[in-house]
């Protein structure tokens, strides 16, 4: 690693001379993301307590295997129950790649994990530990250019999770016109996911960013302006929608396992 220690540069022994707590933000990112990954992995493999009529956990929707409970499969059950070494593959694993891929290739999360996990760089003007660097020019990181495909897949999931939230306006017997804490939880989760998607850089590009002449496309220009406002808040939406998914799952699990009762306002 020549870099800041290259022969022509000012001879300074320290990797950085920053005096602030530059390590704090990457540390928080690691703690939060690792916590989420551990929780999500445990829940994805658990394969139970994800459905309590009319609530379904966002980790398991749509439930696609024939082992899913009735009412949990918005798109039917195209897959049979698959077992590897006697272990049944959880329905969550059939759909995990889409939300995971969307977040993994997200421009904001890329910044977050490149800095905190890969330390490339750990913080601005703090020398990174790697000897060489090629960025996103070759495999596997060149695949980050596929973000838009996950974005479109993510929109389909947003629609499905919104339907889940609407279906939660029923009671456990399937009657409409009821509102429970679970309804609000799923509704909040769907709203946060829409905000995360709508503020996405790919969304901004697709809606109007790729145009050269806004004046020829006034409607797209207007939409681009709105998405640009949301885009300022993309990191915030990235985090709170992540918490939203996890907390929705925590709630549904608690209801499904019988730890708590889903309280109905009416």
């Amino acid at each position: 690693m020549a870099g800041v220690f290259a022969p022509t540069r000012a001879k300074i022994a320290e990797r950085t001379l920053r005096t602030d707590k530059w390590w704090l933000q990457p540390l928080i990112t690691v703690v939060v993301l690792v916590s989420f990954i551990i929780y999500a992995t445990i829940r994805a493999f658990e394969g139970k307590n994800y459905f309590a009529e009319p609530l379904i956990s966002p980790f398991y929707s749509p439930c696609l295997t024939n082992g899913c409970p009735d009412g949990a499969s918005l798109l039917g059950q195209p897959f049979g129950t698959i077992a590897i070494f006697g272990m049944v593959i959880s329905p969550a694993l059939f759909i995990l790649i889409f939300p995971l891929g969307f977040r993994m290739t997200c421009y904001y999360y890329r910044k977050a994990y490149y800095r905190s996990f890969w330390q490339s760089p750990p913080a601005c003007a703090v020398a990174e530990p790697h000897k060489t660097y090629t960025g996103e020019t070759r495999a596997p990181l060149i695949l980050q250019n596929g973000h838009r495909w996950f974005f479109f897949a993510g929109l389909i999931f947003n629609v499905l999770l919104t339907i889940d939230a609407v279906l939660a306006f029923r009671n456990a017997d399937g009657q409409w016109g009821h509102l429970s804490v679970g309804t609000l939880v799923l509704l909040t989760n769907a709203t946060l996911l829409w905000l995360y998607s709508a503020s996405c850089h790919t969304c901004r590009h697709t809606i109007g960013g790729r145009l050269r002449n806004f004046s020829k496309h006034p409607v797209r220009y207007k939409l681009w302006g709105w998405v640009s406002v949301l885009n300022h808040r993309h990191p915030t939406f990235a985090w709170i929608s992540l918490f939203g998914v996890a907390l929705s799952d925590v709630y549904v699990r608690a209801v499904a396992s019988g730890s708590i009762t889903n309280f109905y306002f009416f």
Binding site: P121, N145, G146, H201
Partner: protein
């Protein structure tokens, strides 16, 4: 010494390409001063041969770029009252470029990169002065015209700061906003800017960690408004088979 004056401790890097070290100095600082004022006082009273590049003292010329407590900053825009009482302020030259002497670095890398980017190519059927554009079509490019070429973004970018060898193939954030400015320009006729951004200027090496945006004294949203939009435009052209197919079927060049 009046109440508004106080003594401050500085560590200033002094040396040249062969050798150098941080030197401690104590100097008077007055209320309302910036780091550049204090450096000038050091130069006037204690280190008459201290080399420092400066010009406008108003944050508009981009000359006094240096690293203050390890962060790339303009010395003329860094107020002394942002530091704690008794704090030692460390001042070094930019660490991504070859040092010439003391706080002055050789930033000619940036001028070479500037020359590698083809200039604005206006429509051949119009003469200069006949160009007509609507404000909504040029406002994105105008944000990038605020750049004062202080090169703090280039200095903080780890692609070249931490990897000298990448300087050959990487233009850096300052020039990605230049490419974006031209690619988004309603009258620019050069249609291969996306391709060359990726293949010749190293856009793919950027991993969007946003340090360039963090240090920009003009608050240009380099990453969100220039680099990521350019990455998406490159995807349109190079990595999106559906758009590629669409462009072949409709025989459309570029995007209107």
């Amino acid at each position: 010494m009046s109440a508004a004056e106080k003594m401050v401790k500085l560590r200033i890097w002094r040396g040249d390409a062969k050798d150098g070290a941080l030197q401690d100095v104590e100097v008077e600082a007055n209320e309302g001063e910036v780091v550049l004022d204090v450096i000038h006082r050091v130069q006037a009273t204690q280190m008459s041969d201290l080399a420092v590049r400066w010009n406008c003292k108003a944050g508009k010329c981009g000359s006094c770029s240096m690293e203050i407590n390890g962060k790339p900053r303009l010395a003329c825009m860094t107020r002394m009252n942002m530091f704690e009482e008794g704090e030692t302020i460390t001042v070094t030259p930019l660490r991504a470029f070859p040092v010439i002497r003391d706080l002055v670095t050789d930033v000619s890398f940036n001028y070479k990169k500037a020359m590698e980017i083809p200039a604005f190519a206006g429509p051949t059927d119009l003469k200069p002065g006949e160009y007509r554009m609507q404000q909504v079509d040029v406002e994105r490019s105008q944000e990038f015209r605020k750049c004062i070429e202080c090169f703090l973004c280039q200095d903080t970018c780890h692609v070249i700061r931490d990897h000298e060898e990448n300087k050959k193939s990487f233009a850096g954030p300052r020039f990605f906003i230049r490419i974006a400015e031209l690619d988004m320009h309603p009258l620019d006729t050069l249609r291969n800017r996306k391709k060359t951004a990726q293949e010749e200027h190293g856009l793919g090496m950027c991993n969007i960690t946003k340090c360039c945006t963090e240090v920009c004294p003009e608050h240009i949203r380099i990453t969100d408004n220039a680099i990521i939009p350019m990455k998406e435009r490159v995807v349109d052209e190079k990595y999106d088979p559906i758009r590629w197919l669409g462009s072949k079927i409709r025989k459309r060049e570029g995007i209107n």
